[in-house]
Amino acid sequence: MSDASVPAVELRDVVKRFDDVVAVDHVSLQIAPGEFFALLGPSGSGKTTTLRMIGGFELPTEGEVLIEGEPQGYKPPYQRPVNTVFQNYALFPHMTVAQNIAFGLEMRGVPKDEIRRRVGEMLNLVRLSGYEKRRPHQLSGGEQQRVALARALINQPKVLLLDEPLGALDLKLRKAMQLELKAIQEQVGITFVYVTHDQEEAITMADRIAVMNHGRVLQVGPPPEVYEQPRTLFVADFIGETNFIPVEVLRVGSTVEVLTAGGARLQAGWAEPSLNAGAPAVAAVRPERMWLHRPNTAPEGGPWNRVEGIVRHVIYHGLDIRYEIHLAGECSLHVRLPVGRGDADVFQRGEHVIVVWPSEATRVFRRDS
């Protein structure tokens, strides 16, 4: 569609201040054409403000927003080649579904015949044919959501901005709409910038994720990278479930070694660059990377970390069993083991176990980060 080397959206060192509050703090991003890009963060992280600056609803205090290489400057929303799906859908209550969807084309002076044809196509795309004459208040939440999507997509924007579009839907509908949105995005090939606070949603849908907190972008990357190689404690904590073990750094460099409060030595695959030997730190490990062994069957040597503990809780979850293991030194770990590998592998409450995981699955972070 357009030159692939020019980003669909680029933010250059963008800052947004509201009076004394810094909402967005020196954010730089490049979003490729056709990409499904998620801005992920808790509320107040600046993700919605970032989106609103791309749409032109807010102007950056510093820095620049470019769309397809073109600086947007002070351009108002109605002059930008982007469209938005709002959090509450913002459908016009005094217009029918068809009038809502036609609004953008009508404002740009597209001939009536063409508008009618394209509205029909859009209703087809979002599976709402036959709903032309209805009014927004007669639709369910999911239907309103699809009208909002059609109303934006009919304009064939360079970029579609979505502000928590599934936030108001119930869980089951949300899951279905996630798949539907992703399929529609692949079908139309438009760049999506998707704001969400739901890490699972971002991981499922996005090609790349930017994790934001306190107005800063902490990490940008494809979901597996952000999930498996978080670079700050916040990212490790915010995305997925993680075990945190308080440790002291023994050695950094080509190999990283830390000491737990309970006296166990752990090897780590990665440590935050600013850490030095002797510093207090946190070792993070995903629960699904850990295994449990009885003391006599635990593997010796090799690239494994081992800590001893006692099973405190056993929770059956259907697909897996979750164990809470109490370690020496006031710390506990969550371990998830798949169900159905034979009775020998079900551990009992109070049992003495060894928790084993690959040392490369261990990442060490600064405590204050």
Partner: protein, 293 residues
């Protein structure tokens, strides 16, 4: 034990009905206090007697007399003319004021504008009337008249009366429109702008249609207030100009006749109709099904 329980239950029942009865009686008294004089007024406008206190049969002759009274008819059309013109002006200005205060949160002297807008609602009519009178005298506007002929009658309406009515009606329109604007979703305006509508087209296609129930409600309220106004009209009209309330006041000094009852009943009916319309328009707020175009 069961006997005493039954007794307690009986006591509760008695108290319950006593409370209920008192409540209903109190309600009736309240309504009687408010509306009995009005009902009597309306009934005696159909009384076939000069006496205002003795019923002697049904007639429509007071209404006929009213229609044939040239001065009353002039006063009636004066009232309507002043109400229509002042309502149109006040509705436009009041709506703009409401938009400014509700939508553009930051402008110099916003708080000042906010407070002064409500002043005409709060200050007594008489104070406002004297202020206006002084203003028209000092400014040299005086009591020049706008000459029009309606329904075969030649009217001479002082501009000062129209300006005076606009002055208090702006506030009422602004209050009603603001209430409507406050409950409107502002992202609708953003959505329109996102869909290539300039601020101008956003206003005509989205903002105005959605705030229309408030604008209509405000206009009807202004119209009613203008029709019913006595004090401000009386002070700002100079000599020889009558609206209906002013005319009734003049007639009443010569004694109460059933003709006055007829005029008052007419005004009452008209006001009730307008207030009902205003309420229905405001009700459109909740009923999103209302079709604007």
């Amino acid at each position: 034990m069961t006997a005493s329980a039954a007794k307690v239950a009986r006591q509760h029942r008695t108290r319950h009905w006593l409370r209920r009865g008192l409540f209903v009686a109190y309600g009736f008294l309240g309504y009687a206090f408010f509306y009995l004089p009005i009902v009597i007024l309306v009934i005696f406008s159909f009384n076939d007697s000069r006496s205002v206190s003795k019923w002697s049969g049904f007639t429509l002759r007071w209404y006929e007399a009213m229609l044939q009274d040239h001065q009353i008819m002039v006063a009636l059309w004066n009232s309507v003319f002043v109400a229509v013109v002042s309502t149109l002006i006040a509705t436009v200005l009041g709506t703009l004021a409401a938009l400014a205060l509700e939508r553009y949160r930051r402008f110099p002297a916003r708080l000042f504008a906010d407070i002064t807008l409500y002043l005409p609602i709060i200050i007594p009519d008489i104070a406002m009337a004297i202020m206006l009178l002084a203003f028209f005298k000092l400014s040299g506007i005086g009591f020049q008249t706008w000459k029009v002929s309606i329904a075969g009658l030649r009217l001479a309406v002082p501009y000062s009366v129209i300006i005076g009515h606009v002055a208090f009606n702006i506030s009422f329109v602004a209050v009603v429109v603001r209430a409507r604007l406050a409950q409107m979703d502002r992202t609708l305006d953003e959505a329109a702008q996102d869909l290539y509508a300039t601020p101008w087209r956003t206003f005509w296609r989205v903002t105005l249609p959605l705030m229309m129930p408030g604008v209509l409600g405000g206009a009807l309220l202004a119209f009613t207030l203008s029709l019913d106004d006595f004090v401000i009209t009386f002070f700002t009209s100079g000599a020889g100009f009558n609206t209906l309330p002013v005319r009734v006041f003049g007639m009443i000094r010569k004694g109460v006749t059933p003709k006055i009852n007829a005029v008052s009943s007419l005004m009452l009916g008209f006001s009730l109709l307008l207030v009902t319309l205003a309420l229905l328009a405001a009700r459109g707020n909740e009923d999103r099904k209302i079709q604007m175009f």
